[in-house]
Symmetry: C2
Subunit: 417 residues, 2 copies
């Protein structure tokens, strides 16, 4: 199996791992269970909220999703949105593993309950790696018990490294923000590089804050902000069986608990959380397998926001658009093709299309002012902006993707063998 | 612009151009208008039915489709399904060319009407090549007038070569069949290699017979058989703005005209036409850009045929499935992922999956009898068969696709520049 260290770092990676704020109320540790044969790397992450945390989450809509995903969703419902332990392993996704996968998760939850003294619905588990490969039931649970005494102040760079699979860099983002006259921290860590078309969150993503938020607020914020960040990225149109985006609020910053998602005091916090989520989501695109460019696609003037998103995603997932941009070819006709291939409302002779700030097409034909040189320049850098106005209504959506190079084919032809 | 001759012939190509039967009542010629700069190749095809022909057709559903497509559809409706002239050019798709594209087509139809003496709704036109590049209005129409005197017995290999763009081989198929105690011929020619996800037929495809069929029969047969052949292939999930599948019946074989699509005398003809269409459609997949393997995907036990087709297409379009098969990796977990990512009814713990004849998964987990060696062998040849049984109902669909190699990226990064 290819792992992070086999691959060169994406040219679109941030220069360095970010400075992160303090988020109180979290203990963490990482450990190597040897799940990557022949490699020394951490593959088990355990996070403990000693005083508990409020929790919310959104998950893959895949109908072949893993038991881990089902269990997180069930825990949120049955436990009223309270969390005490998060266990994540890489090296094996535990998806499509039937009874063996359920046994592994039963054992993991039991160990977390035993060590922390929490209820079983306060344990959240995730796994990522190969699909369909059953594991012995006690590998992960044994790991939880072994590392429990090592829990301490989180080393976020180790945490972010531990959850990587084919990622070429560790992904994290954070901000400090004023909430109700207290400084609170927000930190997110993520993994993801391929099998990225979030139909809900993508891959594994965890957000933490010490703000004092109730479970309803956690769920409302992660659902709303996840939908316009994680659910708007795509690398290859493939949807993982394990996608998980969890949000934990420890409340350790103190102050009155906020239980209403519409509380006006949340405004600044929501903006900061949105920025952190967008930062993380676009880091995943920047690490798209084989990516050499990040592409931001905005569709406006659509019949609805949902319609705009379908059309933006059609452009973002078109292999012909993505290969042209990889080659620095301003092949805008392929964007027109991708706009046309959905069944959403589109009037050919009303749409307008820009590459960067350059108008390339309008009124059903190439723009009179079109310049091949200017259009080519707009698709030549590491950041490409495509904008479409359909001229039909107020619907708008922005989607992020990467270009499509032979690196993707090489990485994914080699992944499992 | 890349053209056929730049690319090595697909390893999946038939050994030779097929022997084709005689179809009476057709005159044809091909010609070079110089639309491919610096290359000597035919780029204009004119076909004349001196005694006329009944016609039917299906077309791209793209909302950014070309005026050529709109005109064919309008001609079928306004002209009652009668045809006299077919004009096809390569080198420029005339899609998204606005008023210039309409003027070009007006001129082309006028020239065909002038030369043949037919009505304007008896003229059918198609074009393929770059999108959005306006042409001078009289290039094609002038060509029609120039070549009219050269019309004669069709050289089908020249016809099939003339309509190629990135195709690495000329595509044709044919059969002779008994209809109502007369021998009639069926011939199809096609082009297509990329931008292939038929939402209706794909690219340019023309079927000819000298059977004496009425327009209603032509339309019914091409719609029904096109839907289970052309509409079941995909190379890259991208839908062309020019897809056209036209069917012409000259009636030159004589005999009573058949006007009822349900006429039992048509049974053998329908079977033969189905074989010809399937042959042509899978030739397009065999010429998929960069293809090294053809993959037949059958989904059965689905809630409906339509649901089966959505799921089969999801597998067929998954970059992760296609890159794994390119590498000869029996990564069946990715097939499970692709089954799960649609919103169609799927019960994870009821589905079964075969690679070739080998059962790889059932009841929500890997099959007990699974053999990595046997599964690998099943994806190692040039023809790969994937079968899924969802265990839910009677719905069934078969879809054909090719694998995904770095050849696709190379071809499409280079196409326009």
């Amino acid at each position: 199996m290819a792992t992070a260290s086999d691959l060169p770092v994406s040219p679109l990676a941030p220069e360095r791992f970010p400075q992160l704020p303090t988020v109180r109320g979290i203990a963490a540790t990482t450990h190597s269970l040897g799940l990557y044969k022949g490699k020394v790397r951490d593959d088990l992450l355990v996070i403990h909220f000693p005083e508990g945390a409020a929790a919310g989450g959104i998950f893959t809509k895949s109908s072949t999703r893993s038991d881990d995903v089902d269990r997180c969703r069930a825990a949120l419902q049955a436990g009223g949105g309270r969390a005490r332990v998060l266990v994540v392993n890489t090296g094996n996704s535990n998806a499509f593993t039937g009874a063996a996968g359920i046994a592994k998760n039963d054992a993991t939850v039991a160990s977390a309950v035993k060590m922390s003294g929490c209820g079983q619905h306060e344990v959240f588990i995730s796994a990522t790696g190969v699909i369909g490969e059953p594991m012995p039931p006690h590998v992960i649970s044994g790991g939880v018990e072994t590392v429990w005494s090592k829990l301490g102040a989180p080393d976020w760079e180790k945490v972010a490294n531990c959850i990587r699979t084919t990622d070429t860099f560790a992904k994290a983002a954070g901000e400090t923000v004023d909430l109700n006259r207290r400084n609170v921290g927000i930190i997110g860590v993520a993994k993801g590089s391929g099998m990225i078309q979030p139909n809900m969150a993508t891959t594994l993503n965890y957000m933490f804050t010490d703000a004092n938020l109730g479970p309803k607020v956690c769920q409302a914020l992660i659902a709303k902000l996840g939908d316009i960040t994680y659910n708007c990225i795509t690398v290859d149109s493939d949807t993982s069986t394990s996608d998980t985006l969890l949000f934990f609020a420890t409340g350790a910053a103190g102050g009155e608990q906020i239980d209403n998602p519409d509380d006006p005091r949340l405004a600044g916090f929501i903006e900061a959380m949105h920025r952190v989520l967008k930062d993380l989501a676009t880091q995943i695109v920047r690490d798209g397998e084989g990516a050499s460019k990040i592409i931001e696609i905005t569709v406006e003037g659509a019949a609805s926001d949902a319609s705009a998103k379908v059309i933006a995603s059609s452009i973002a997932n078109s292999p012909l658009v993505k290969t042209a941009i990889a080659a620095g070819d301003a092949n805008w006709g392929r964007v027109v093709m991708a706009i046309g291939k959905t069944s959403e409302p589109v009037e050919r002779d009303q749409l307008a299309l820009w590459f960067g700030d350059h108008l390339v097409a309008k009124d059903g034909a190439r723009a009179a002012s079109y310049s091949e040189a200017v259009a080519t320049k707009a698709v030549s850098g590491q950041e490409v902006f495509i904008r479409v106005n359909l001229g039909l209504g107020q619907g708008k959506s922005t989607v992020w993707t990467c270009d499509f190079t032979d690196g993707y084919v090489k990485i994914n032809g080699a992944y499992r063998s």
